[in-house]
């Protein structure tokens, strides 16, 4: 039984002015997530990965295709009905500095989803304290403000907020990209731990291949609004079939000087072969022209 099923989703942002139609950001994207599973969504800027996440969350309106959650079509749900979905789908954003309202105390921030569902007062408070404990933050955090915490700690708060309603799926949009190395590792561990305990599924969006390997069961690679490859994590990251995925893997530097040199040379080799292939086909050689 699939938890989330996205079928041929299309999306263009509303056009500004009467003249042009704005370009399509999602050009027919299809993905599936099973309960308790992590689907890693990898791509560079302009790939549309964040937009796909926002569409699943109801923050961006698709212009075609469908999104089904637990069998129900949620493609164009109006705001009122979205509230019900809040119990099932939640989010952790990338930026720990702007995803928490600086004017609210941690307890208020964590209570927000509870309040939205009608849980208030003492019960809300009890659940907030339980959440803090779950993500490894001390109890006295509740009465403090976000500015008193480090990036990693704020991200924990964001995770706690996402867990408050015990969702079945959490969309994680680059949740560790803005964190220091040491913090990153710890937060990744938290994500894994929570998934094993609660069986929540993740749509884990990232540009970092090392991160995606670590946490995903399955991986989908996006390029310019389309999915170019899907498969198990092992498959996609060790034996990619699509040339873009291959290029991506070779481009990411590895933390070992000798291995990196080997990888670099493999990448140059691949570029030379691609250039020769284009030339052989009679096209203009891929010059030293910039790719982006």
């Amino acid at each position: 039984m699939t938890l989330l099923e996205v079928d041929n989703l299309r999306l263009s942002y509303p056009a500004r002015g009467f003249r042009k139609k704005s370009p399509e950001v999602l050009k027919g994207v299809s993905i599936e997530i099973a309960p308790g599973e992590t689907l890693g969504l990898v791509g560079e800027s302009g790939s549309g990965k964040t937009t796909l996440g926002r569409a699943v969350l109801g923050l961006a309106a698709p212009t075609g295709g469908s999104i089904r959650f637990a069998g129900h079509d949620i493609t164009n749900t109006p705001t009122k009905e979205r509230r019900g979905l809040a119990r099932d789908i939640q989010v952790v954003f990338q930026d720990p500095y702007t995803s928490l309202n600086p004017a609210l105390q941690i307890a208020d921030i964590l209570a927000e989803p509870l309040i939205a569902q009608g849980v208030e007062g003492k019960e809300a408070r009890t659940r907030v304290m339980a959440l803090l404990d779950r993500v490894g933050l001390p109890a006295n955090s509740a009465d403090r403000y976000p500015r008193e915490f480090s990036g990693g700690q704020r991200q924990r708060v964001a995770i706690a907020r996402a867990l408050a309603l015990k969702p079945k799926l959490i969309v994680c949009d680059e949740p560790v990209s803005a964190l220091d190395l040491t913090t990153q590792a710890k937060v990744m561990d938290l994500f894994l731990e929570l998934q094993r305990e609660t069986g929540v599924a993740y749509l884990f969006i990232t540009h970092d291949l090392a991160v995606v390997r670590h946490i995903s069961h399955r991986v989908a690679v996006m390029y310019r609004g389309e999915i170019v490859e899907t498969g198990t994590a092992a498959q996609v990251t060790n034996h990619p079939r699509d040339p873009y995925t291959q290029a991506l893997l070779l481009a990411a530097p590895t933390a070992d000087p000798d291995k990196q040199r080997a990888r670099r040379e493999a990448r140059w080799k691949m570029m030379r072969e691609a250039a020769n292939a284009t030339q052989a086909q009679g096209g203009t050689a891929v010059s030293a022209g910039v790719s982006s």
Partner: protein
């Protein structure tokens, strides 16, 4: 993960406590703020107590008291040219001004904020229409129109103020709209929407807080404007000619100024007190909202030699032929409470010609501060000192800004992190790059050099890019442009501050290739600031690890990766996500997955 590590940054410092003390308290502690509040309250009180405090009706005229001087019995400020009691008229005028302020600013506030809220939150068509209307309103020559429409609206000053209030609304509209729009795009509002919070709740919880302060300040200034305009109109003779107001009083006094100039002084003085205290209050509140400020040292930024100076000039030979020699660098910033915060302490570093040194650390490590202090580009408030800072043997300490300027873009160069924000949007790419070069060569030569470099860094159509504006090129191209600019003078030392962090992985690889090639060709020494160990492994010969402003460890790149001597370095290396392990455990399906209600 220990509890200690997690709780450490939670220590609430004395500074935090002060910040939390609230804007109002800060305002009252500010002498200007306090005095403005006192004056305002005093004036309001005077106005309220008018029936009690004045001896005569403001319209009562006594022939014996025409132009009576101040202090005449029962006539505190004397009589005007019609024999009316100036003191009584002043008190009434205070009330008139206050009412004008309330009506004018009130109307402006209500219209401006309601529609600003709608425009800012709903966006789209509603925003377009409302913005258009309010822009139109803003460009109305309001005074002329109010004057012309006066006979039509009814010539009471209250009516005129209500109309004028409409013309004041666009200012508040724009302010509220921009603030609300800003908040609406914040991630925490998105999170609230995902949490299922209703629009009404989102507005009251998140939007209101941000809007409150600036709107209060604007309204205070509007009130002052309203008072001023009402006085002006009354001065000309518009609006409720029977009611005394500061405007009518000054108007009358102006006619009488040769006879009795003092009559002009009284209403002007009180008007000034009223307007002035409002403005001072507004300014003080604005400052209070901004939080405690540092007493910025306005000294010219010079790198100081330490007072226990042992620095002597050493000729090249003695220094050992190194490119950059840095000993015991200290960088600190003054804090609001007078103390100093050290961001770099005791850092020593060597770079040899042709060597690529990676400067790594997490946030707060001081690596970027170190890079900028070598360049001499830290903000004015920074205090920089070092035992030695030499570039190719020449000391950089105590060097004036003018001399540093000659070195920058010449012997030392810089590549920034974020390409687009580092280009001046108003000038073409080519002209910007040329500017640093023209001190060493002619314009024509500079242009040739730049064009050649643009091609060298891999830009397909150099001439076109040369003539383009920053908004017309992509991020990757912009970074190449900045690299071209940095190497144009064939610098000896290149300082690169996270040059690929803002770029996509595929573009990053290309830029790293480029940097490697250029470094090889020009034989530059490179200081590469980064937090990415992959980049370090790709480019660097040596590595320097920093933490909290201190040097932790330094060594050859293989040493650091395979045999680090410090625990922290080992911890960093261990945190790098292993490339070989892939997730193997299957998805867990928890039986009790009946949703999160309970």
């Amino acid at each position: 993960m220990t509890v200690n590590e997690v709780t450490q940054p939670l220590e609430v410092s004395a500074q935090e406590m002060k910040k939390r003390a609230g804007a109002m308290k800060r305002l009252l502690r500010n002498p200007l703020g306090l005095s403005s509040v006192i004056i305002m309250l005093a004036l309001v009180l005077l106005g309220l107590l008018e029936p009690v405090l004045s001896n005569h009706d403001p319209l009562f005229a006594s022939l014996q008291h025409i132009n009576a001087p101040a202090g005449t019995d029962g006539w505190l400020l004397g009589g005007d040219q019609f024999g009316r009691d100036i003191w009584a008229r002043v008190l009434t005028s205070i009330n008139v001004s206050l009412i004008s302020a309330v009506i004018g600013a009130g109307v402006g506030l209500v219209f401006g904020s309601i529609f600003g809220l709608i425009a800012g939150y709903a966006g789209g068509r509603a925003d377009a229409v409302l913005s258009w209307i309010f822009n139109l309103l803003m460009t109305f020559p309001s005074l002329v129109l109010v004057m012309v429409l006066a006979p039509v609206i009814g010539s009471t000053y209250q009516g005129m103020m209500a109309i004028f209030g409409l013309f004041l609304a666009p200012g508040i509209f724009r302010l509220v709209r921009n603030l609300v729009q800003g908040v609406r795009n914040e991630l925490y509002v998105d999170a609230a929407r995902v949490a299922g919070l209703s629009t009404r709740r989102i507005l009251s919880r998140h939007v209101l807080y941000v809007v409150r302060g600036p709107v209060v300040i604007s309204t205070v200034f509007l009130a002052s404007t309203a008072i001023g305009v009402q006085s002006g109109l009354a001065f000309l003779g518009f609006g409720s000619t029977q009611t005394p107001s500061f405007g009518s009083m000054t108007g009358d006094a102006f006619a009488n100024i040769y006879t009795e100039p003092m009559q002009f002084v009284w209403p002007s003085l009180f008007l000034a007190l009223l307007s002035g205290s409002l403005i001072l209050f507004g300014n003080a509140y604005r400052d209070a909202l901004a939080g405690p400020q540092t007493v910025a040292a306005k000294k010219k930024h010079r790198r100081e030699a330490p007072h226990e100076a042992v620095t002597r000039y050493e000729p090249d030979g003695a220094v050992g032929g190194g490119l950059l020699k840095l000993r015991n660098l200290r960088v600190s910033y003054p804090q609001p409470d007078g103390s100093e915060k050290n961001v770099v302490e005791g850092l020593s570093l060597d770079i040899h010609p042709g060597e690529i040194v990676g400067l790594v650390g997490e946030s707060g490590s001081g690596k970027t501060q170190t890079a900028f202090s070598i360049l001499g580009l830290l903000p004015k408030e920074a205090r920089v000192a070092a035992d030695e800072m030499r570039l190719a043997g020449d000391s950089l300490i105590g060097v004036s800004q003018t001399q540093m300027r000659k070195l920058r873009g010449g012997v030392i160069s810089y590549i920034p992190q974020e390409p687009m924000s580092n280009l001046d949007p108003s000038f073409t790419v080519g002209s910007q790059l040329m500017e640093g070069l023209t001190k060493a060569m002619s314009k024509a030569e500079a242009k040739q050099t730049i064009l050649a470099l643009l091609e060298r860094v891999g830009i397909a159509d150099p001439a076109r890019t040369f003539n383009s504006y920053p908004h017309q090129i992509s991020g990757g191209m912009a970074q190449r442009v900045l690299i071209a600019g940095a190497v144009a003078s064939r610098p000896k030392l290149l300082i690169a501050d996270e040059p690929t962090t803002a770029l996509d992985v595929t573009v990053q690889a290309e830029i790293l290739d480029l940097l490697r090639e250029l470094q090889g060709e020009l034989g530059m020494g490179v200081l590469l600031v980064t937090h990415n160990f992959g980049v370090v492994a790709d480019l660097c010969d040596r590595v320097v690890v920093m933490r909290n402003g201190h040097l932790v460890e330094e060594g050859g790149v293989r040493e650091i990766f395979h045999h680090p001597s410090q625990e922290y370095t080992q911890e960093l290396i261990n945190s790098i996500l292993d490339e070989d392990t892939v997730r193997m455990d299957p998805p867990v399906v928890v039986a009790a997955q009946a949703g999160g209600k309970e």
